[in-house]
Amino acid sequence: MKKLKSLKTTTKVDFATYFGVIAAFIVVSLLKSGGFLNRSLTGMLVPICCYIVMAVSLNLTVGILGELSLGHAGFMSVGAFSGVIAAMSLQSAIPSGWVRLVVAIAAGAAFAALAGFIVGVPVLRLRGDYLAIVTLAFGEIIKELINCLLVGVDEKGLHMAFNISGTLTIDDLGMGPGGTAIIKGAQGATGTEKLASFGAGFILVMLTLVIVLNLVRSRTGRAVMAIRDNRIAAESIGVNVTKYKMIAFITSAALAGAAGALYGLNYSSLAASKFDFNTSILVLVYVVLGGLGNIWGSIIAAAVLYILPEALRQFSDYRMLVYAIVLILVMLATNNPTIKTFLGWKSKGKEAA
């Protein structure tokens, strides 16, 4: 009986999460079409969607799987650049912007999943904090690799060069006269066509929620959580630890790649240095503040914490100082038993921990 009741609660939470996201999308769309939304907020809608997907997918690794990943921005970077390459190189082949956006997001997710697979195969067999160390290194390696990458496209197809010595330039690709440079090493991707839209961002968020929530509530998800709670016990009942860890980790990486592709196609310039350690930590902050394993918490934390620094512009130079203070206060407040009781979170104490 008790089990049944708790199951019902999680289902309710899931549906409330879907409902909340759809409601937020409808409200924001209505406000936007009615002209009630200022430009500042309108401009932030797509990055907010990207960071929500990032936070939810990282929550899968950190909260559900219980492994610390410090290189989530690395997967975002892989997704962003492969997405930009896909979208720009197919410019003539696929005239429709929407189709190209979908292809780019799929390409971003696929390449990020591949990167996740390569990182995961050796590391997820180990016990302890190795994943944190390796993903940290992975994020830095990806940044350096993309700094060496030269990509261009002309009528003959894609041209790529790997600029290890640092002496090649975009002219060394040997492109035809009609060729355009897509990625220019350290200068990153410039002149990218802006394909991302709030609608696409919303669909990606919903897709992410469907994937992550269904995964978590499925047999696979229960196995993943069993590994998190007690690896030895999980192994003893025959759970293939590495396999389930890989499933969760690669899903997380693929979703980060999809978010990256959307992000990359929202700005006309994109440099690899954007996806550094700080970005990984920023997303981790969203996850921790929203609550480990708490999906709707990640969504709200990502949205609020993304808007916050912009809303604090009136403090001018002290903006980020105030941001830090707000973060500390939120941390203190969400761990305060009195406030928890007040908001009715007391009963959730067990799950939040």
């Binding site: 500042s40 350290a186 006309s268």
Partner: protein
């Protein structure tokens, strides 16, 4: 359960409404220019019989640049310079007044677009900025779609202006800096063995290095050593310097910002290596860097369009004002920001814009007149623009002597 959910919804609604309040509050408080819109009627009345082809009214100028973070010295200098020009123009009583608001972008493309959107909410009509290249490329796509005229004081990459008819530059483009440096070195220091140390994860540094090397090949300049670094490795240059020294480089070309340059100068002195150091506009600012021993920069050469100890009257008065307000000698970025406002002023006058025109109308009007005007500024006499947005003015090499720039 539902109670909790509503709690969250309410909290979110509160945060959003707070954010909205924050936005409008910022508009009022951050506007630190006394001649606000209340002055506008008076100014509109004064030049009622002004000849056609001259502007009138109050224009809202927005500035975007890094006011905090690693590149803050550039953003602050450019914005301070722009503010001085705004105050001067407001005091002229020519019928044109400016309101100026600067927003921080931490030299990041994403934040820069957010800052630009904040300014658009404020009602900006013309943009001065963004100050740094990466941010400027991101914002240039937005201003092109929105049809807002933008004049960047110092974003020097050609990617900033390429394909956008309403984005103009005050500074040289990177190719010009690279080509100018190579030409200057080959003409004035013939036979120099050149070593290059540059940051290969930075659009600015890589861009100048590429054009420098290409031009060096044309004019027969010998490059003996090339060392690279990244944002994460800019605290130690012993490898690059040792390589340059062992290959006999007697001139080190530094197409980099002043922070790594300060470390390079310090380490070169520490290892007893004294080549001629040659920088570009990113070197500018090294003398005002906190805790930097300016004696290290003695004899450093750099290509800059602005020298704070130039003898002309306008530079003198600008330097004095800047010193009085901010307690330091202005660098090239301050002069770029100052010039940017005067260029916009000249363009508005030439196009005969009025303060009640929308950003799109002003944009179309200015874009049409930009190739026809010529402006005398601190960073060059008779500056003219191509339709592409590129400026044409003469670069000037200076050498640091006793802590100030002098012409060699």
């Amino acid at each position: 359960m539902m109670k909790k959910f509503f709690g969250i919804l309410l909290a979110l609604a509160m945060v959003l409404s707070l954010a909205a309040c924050g936005g409008s509050g910022g508009d009022k408080t951050a506007n630190d220019n006394p001649p606000a819109s209340t002055d506008a009627p008076a100014n509109n009345n004064a030049p009622a019989d002004a000849p056609s082809g001259s502007a009138s009214g109050t224009f809202k100028l927005g500035g975007v640049g890094p006011l905090t973070g690693d590149a803050a010295i550039y953003g602050n200098a450019a914005m301070n310079g722009a503010k001085i020009a705004v105050d001067e123009i407001n005091a002229l009583g020519s019928g044109v007044t400016f309101e100026f608001q600067a927003e921080d972008d931490v030299a990041d493309g994403e934040t820069s677009v957010n800052a630009y959107n904040t300014l658009m909410d404020w009602g900006m009509q013309v943009l001065v900025g963004p100050v740094t290249t990466g941010a400027a490329i991101a914002v240039s796509a937005e201003i092109y779609n929105d049809r807002v005229f933008a004049l960047t004081p110092s974003a020097s990459s050609t990617d900033v202006i390429s394909g956008k008819d309403n984005m103009f530059q005050v500074c040289f483009t990177d190719p010009n800096q690279g080509v100018g440096s190579a030409d200057y070195i080959s003409q004035n220091m013939s036979g120099a063995k050149v070593g290059i140390i540059y940051r290969n994860d930075d659009a600015y540094s890589q861009g100048i290095r590429d054009t420098f090397v290409a031009e060096a090949g044309k004019v027969g300049l010998e490059i003996v050593s090339e060392g690279t670094f990244t944002k994460d490795t800019q605290s130690d240059f012993s490898v690059q310097l040792t390589d340059a020294k062992s290959k006999g480089a007697d001139l080190i070309f530094l197409p980099t910002y002043y922070q790594p340059n300060a470390v390079i100068l310090n380490q070169a002195k520490g290892m007893g290596y004294a080549p001629t150091f040659f920088g570009v506009d990113g070197m500018d600012g090294i003398l005002t860097m906190e805790n930097f021993d300016t004696s290290l920069a003695e004899g450093v050469m750099l290509l800059t369009p602005f020298s704070a100890d130039a003898a002309d009257e306008r530079t003198k008065s600008f330097v004095a004002k800047y010193n009085e307000l901010h307690g330091e000698t202005p660098n090239q970025f301050a002069a770029d920001g100052y010039d940017a406002v005067y260029i916009i002023y000249a363009a508005l006058q030439a196009a005969g814009c009025t303060g009640d025109m929308s950003a799109e109308e002003i944009c179309e009007a200015i874009v049409a007149v930009m190739p026809t005007i010529s402006v005398d500024g601190l960073t060059g006499q008779g500056m003219t623009w191509a339709e592409t947005g590129e400026v044409s003015k003469a670069p000037m090499a200076v050498v640091i002597k006793d802590g100030v720039y002098v012409t060699p």
